[in-house]
Amino acid sequence: MTARALVSRAPLVAFQIALGVALVAKGLVSSGVGTALVTLALFAVWIGGTLLNSWLAARPGVLRFKAFAIPLVFGLTLLAMWEIAVRGYGVSTVILPPPSAIAVRFSHSLPILWEDFVQTVIKGALSGFVIGCVAALVTAVVVDRFDFLRRGLLPVGNFVAALPIIGIAPILVMWFGFDWQSKAAVVVVMVFFPMLVNTVEGLHDTSAMQRDLMRTYAAGYWTTLFKLRLPAAMPFIFNGLKIASTLALIGAIVAEFFGSPVRGMGFRISTSVGLLALDLVWAEIVVAAIAGSAFYGAIALLEKAVTFWHPSQRGHGH
């Protein structure tokens, strides 16, 4: 372990130790030895995880491995703390099940989880995402073409985007029916404006010089659009896509709270809470988190492939 790593780690660990000591002491005074021991175990795991990670971070070695291992250790630490807390403090499983119970339920409910995944993610979120993003792209080009629209539509769009989706979802379910179409509609509404705003901004992100260059070639509007402005807008478009990817899943799930066929992740979550099958609820949340992160990751990868030329993608070279 290098001195540098020690220095960089010191403030965090010091903070953890201080907090730990305080809470253990408080536990001892107010709730007895058992609780204090659990608290102690919690902090032991937390500090242990942090130390392991600092050691990993300070080690010379392959960056790609570290970028994978360190968040993993961090996540495992969180899970271990969760397990210890739930079991140690005796939290009722109908309030918060431990990760181990969730894992068991997950492995036993794969068919249900898969059916729900298809209904919500593939049918609802994905289709809405595609429709919403394409629509936003096309609108952005139109809006960009007519400055009048840009000045008129964007402020109104900002206002509309501020409408909370919990309010919009029931309305759209009423309009588009119970099946995935209404979920897709909610997703379309949610992803449209982030996408539009980013794309419009991106289409403006060319330098005067680049545009002048096209003019010296006597290039027309569409040529300039396809050869210059769309490629230049890609980093912004991907920024929008990334935001949209997290929104899409949330939108599809939330919309199912307001009416659905008897399948889907949101459906399962909302009904299972009613039946206190909290382990299933969390299994669905795990699916959502994995699907969401994977979706995000896939777009990030695609971004890397498409905007490889952008300085932000070219790594931290000099």
Partner: protein, 268 residues
């Protein structure tokens, strides 16, 4: 005109500006970027524009390229208006920064104007090869701009302007961002290229030695309002080795340019 040397006989006129004025309306009031500018550029000339910052060099070049509209006066490029000339793709324009598109390879960047102008795919490939060789970049076709040094990028951007066969080359401080040694080298190459292709070149620079070394004609400008204060016909031969810059003749012209500049310059 203050130069004593005779004008080269009857070079056919490629660019002519007469009584040109251009005023920008800004928030702080009008800015007189060009005032009563008159100039003739003959075929095959290499004209340098030099002058302090803000004297209107770029503006003048942009007017020729139909990127800016004069407030009054007329400009003719190849005998027609700048707009017609632009639409006829009569000139290539090289900007101060290389301005290559980072998402295209060097080859792709040079191909860009050819694609836009609807050249045949095969012809495109040939041209790219040709101009890359011309600027000494053969073999770099597949690289991306950011994989090249500044000097190489600038050469690629010149290649891009050469790719479609425009007779006129407008260059706005193309070497401004480069170090002196690379710059010397590119100057030599540019001269060679000019000699080979017989193009007419308008070249903006801040560097006195560069202007003197390259040009057949040096236009000295002065700001507030932007105007031409001196036009110096070079007495140097067309054939110019690098060390011509140590000759008294060169220094004499350089001195004259510096005096002209000094006269019109405000220090900040």
């Amino acid at each position: 005109m203050m130069d004593g040397t005779p004008k080269p006989a009857a070079a056919s006129t490629v660019i002519s500006a007469s009584a040109l004025n251009l005023t920008f309306e800004t928030n702080d009031g009008p800015v007189h970027a060009l005032r009563d500018v008159n100039l003739e550029v003959g075929k095959g000339d290499f004209v340098s524009f030099i002058g302090p910052s803000g004297c209107g060099k770029t503006t003048f070049l942009r007017v020729m390229a139909d990127l800016e509209q004069p407030t009054s006066g007329t400009v003719l490029v190849n005998g027609v208006t700048p707009e017609e000339a632009r639409k006829a793709r009569a000139y290539g324009y090289v900007f101060q920064a290389a301005g290559l598109y980072p998402w295209r390879t060097i080859g792709g960047n040079i191909r860009l104007p050819l694609e836009i102008m609807g050249y045949d795919k095969r012809v495109q490939a040939e041209r790219v090869k040709e101009v890359l060789a011309l600027v000494d970049l053969a073999g770099f076709e597949k690289k991306y701009p950011w994989q090249l040094s500044g000097g190489m990028q600038q050469r690629a951007s010149i290649a891009r302007a050469l790719a479609f066969e425009a007779d006129i080359l407008l260059m706005d401080e193309p070497f401004g961002a480069l170090d002196e040694i690379v710059r010397d080298h590119l100057n030599e190459q540019l001269l060679a290229l000019w000699a080979r292709t017989q193009k007419t070149i308008c070249f903006v620079t801040h560097s006195i030695p560069e202007a003197v070394y390259l040009s057949t004609k040096i236009v000295v400008m002065s700001p507030r309002p932007g105007r031409i204060t001196d036009v110096i016909e070079s007495t140097l031969p067309r054939e110019r080795p690098l060390d011509i810059r140590d000759t008294p003749e060169f220094l004499e012209i350089a001195h004259r340019v510096r005096e002209g500049l000094r006269a019109g310059h405000a220090y900040d």
